[in-house]
């Protein structure tokens, strides 16, 4: 599934300077515990989280995760967006809850990371 398709499915807003919306992302992992991400996620996956802090982006960077979906309508701090830009990570904000966000992606074919 491309980032463009994910954005459309979620009515999502991209907060970072991302030019390539055709990048392929083939699985997803959702958690607010970064050690779980470090233990179970793989690269090429999307990280879905309700946690907005620099460690989310550091974790994504170290795992080779190129796209993070932030849940909810709160705006992340500008420093968070700036860090994502500097690390080359796309932030997409989903207006839906965690459950609905994951459900929409899963039911449209984006598999989970075990």
């Amino acid at each position: 599934m491309t980032l463009r398709e994910i954005q459309r499915l979620l009515d999502g807003r991209i907060l970072t300077k991302t030019s390539n919306l055709d990048i392929e992302l083939n699985s997803a992992f959702s958690s607010d515990m970064m050690s779980h991400v470090l233990a179970y996620a793989n690269d090429k996956s999307i990280l879905i989280t309700a946690l907005y802090n620099p460690q989310v982006l550091r974790t994504a960077d170290l795992m080779g995760i190129s796209c993070v979906i932030f849940i909810g309508k709160n705006k992340p701090e500008p420093e968070i967006v700036a860090l994502a830009n500097s690390l080359g990570i796309t932030i997409l904000q989903s207006p839906y809850s965690m459950y609905v966000t994951c459900g929409l992606l899963y039911s449209n074919g984006l598999k989970g990371t075990n």
């Binding site: 050690s35 470090l38 690269d43 460690q55």
Partner: protein, 145 residues
């Protein structure tokens, strides 16, 4: 035994003052390994191990120093802090056991997976700890053939 005389040596000071900067050392070391053309699987194992160790230093020990050695067939990481020490290493190695404060858990860490994650991603791990003196973690990750 590797005496590190012929290895690339990098040192990172990890600040304990600011949780928001935790992970910078691991991020910088990952970039170095990528520049050197180290394979992806090894970089991933090194990144996870170093980052978990770095986070532990910030959470529990008010920072510390990481010495990273890139050698011909392995990478060694030595993480040294002057924190409170680990009272029970066996417990600390159990998945789910955590002494991290609630505010750290709210930031996404303290799930009791740090040391188990390190163990799972290293070929060798030794922990020297003394209460009131500090902790030294020595990790080795072998490079892929």
């Amino acid at each position: 035994m590797c005496d590190h005389q012929q290895c690339i040596h990098l040192t990172y000071n990890v600040s304990g003052d600011d949780f928001t900067t935790a992970g910078e050392a691991s991020s910088n070391f990952k970039k170095k390994l990528m520049d050197l053309g180290v394979d992806r699987k090894t970089i991933r194992r090194v990144s996870i191990s170093m980052y978990e160790g770095e986070i532990n230093m910030v959470i529990h020990a008010n920072g510390g120093v990481i010495d990273a050695y890139i050698c011909t067939d392995h990478i060694d990481l030595i993480l040294k802090d002057q924190g409170p020490g680990i009272p029970d290493i066996d417990k600390a190695m159990q998945v789910g056991y955590s002494t991290a404060p609630a505010q750290v858990q709210a930031l996404g860490f303290g799930a009791g997976m740090g040391l188990p994650n390190i163990k799972n991603n290293t070929d060798d791990l030794s922990i020297e700890t003394e209460l009131g003196v500090g902790t030294t973690l020595r990790m080795r990750i072998n490079l892929e053939d």
